[in-house]
Subunit: 229 residues, 2 copies
């Protein structure tokens, strides 16, 4: 499936982001889920600043937003779960298996991602600040503990709950990608192999390539003086 | 409804936690949801350290865990959503309304809580460390922005999606409570009133009182010398 301007599903994404954010912006999760589910979607691109009334759709002024004939929602976790309800390839139907998958979606976003984004903060956003230099070892140690917990759980399994890929894996893999600029995931070989397994899925590859294509074609034109500065 | 040793629902909670964590431990969310849904539950209390094989149930070695006749799951967000599926008092049945509530559950846990827990980290856990002193203003400013986003969205509404209380409100209120030791929520009067409205619900009051009662009856006996030190 693919991006299709006539699709009834609409995903809001950013027109352009700096290099460090490419392949990490959260509409990637939604694009990936839609690709796995075999659903076409159109993209609504947002520039900077976003329209003033965009917060009426997305109160945190972020992406993605999602709409189709039935719902208009934000938060990548909720959107991915909603898409999962439409496709057994992402979310099993049996109650226990379904909630094990949903539990991992929440775990990725609440038990793992905050620790990883704190590493991102001290190594990228605030890297040159004194507090970030002092905090870096502790932030890395805490994130490493979370990685170890997931690695220990995963063991030799292919996916978090065994043989079947679910929304929990989809979100966890995108969370781990926020450490790509560090070597931290590689410290846990089974986890690094798991991330690679997720990223090797054709649906992920299409989603990533469609996200990156947008940035390539919307490169802001800098004023010559600014560009030279 | 209430704690009942013969209930089929089991919630894992901590036997004892220090003062600063009381009323904040995440089994509170599950207890509250069960009270709203009118479901009895029994509590399994865990000491420190947890049994070595507890990570096979809860890979992050945290609480809560939840089990009933159908599922065994962890992550408070997933558990609260599962309980919501059993009770229209927590989660509407119509697809759009249902996913608006689920979206707020994810938003509370992923768009708001990490910023608030970073304030908790610099004001409680690491308060005496140099990096935390340097980071505090920035951490507070970022959390304040998140509070403003929620406050702006809420406006004059009673709950996040209007007149009906949902799992999204339940989780958001418990997230805001992590700032109780600061005056930050009070800077946004409609948000402070919203938190108070949630905490005034009889189901919340029963859940809180049942959580606190456990800590009161399991106070560790300190050695006399240690107690005097």
């Amino acid at each position: 499936m693919s991006v299709n301007p006539n699709a009834s599903i609409e995903v809001a994404a950013f027109k352009w982001v700096p290099d460090f954010a490419r392949g990490l912006v959260r509409d990637l999760r939604v694009r990936w889920a839609l690709e796995e589910a075999g659903l076409d979607y159109r993209v609504r691109l947002l520039g900077t600043p976003r329209p003033a009334d965009y917060v009426k759709e997305q109160p945190f002024d972020q992406v993605p937003c999602f709409s189709d004939d039935q719902v208009r929602i934000f938060e990548s976790g909720a959107i991915v779960q909603y898409i999962g309800e439409k496709s057994e390839a992402l979310l099993p139907r049996e109650t226990q298996a379904k909630y094990r998958a949903i539990q991992w979606t929440y775990a990725a976003l609440n038990s793992v991602e905050p620790a990883i984004l704190n590493v991102f903060a001290v190594t990228v956003f605030h890297a040159d600040q004194e507090w970030a230099k002092l905090r870096r070892p502790g932030a890395e140690e805490f994130a490493r503990l979370k990685l170890k917990r997931v690695s220990d759980w995963l063991g030799e399994k292919q996916w978090l709950e065994g043989d079947g890929f679910t929304i929990g894996d989809l979100v966890m893999v995108t969370v781990l990608r926020n450490l790509n600029h560090t070597g931290m995931v590689a410290e846990f070989p089974n986890l690094a192999a798991y991330q690679k397994r997720g990223e090797a899925r054709p649906a992920f590859q299409r989603a990533l390539s469609d996200q990156l294509a947008v940035f390539a074609t919307n490169q802001p034109q800098a004023e010559p003086e600014t560009a030279a500065a």
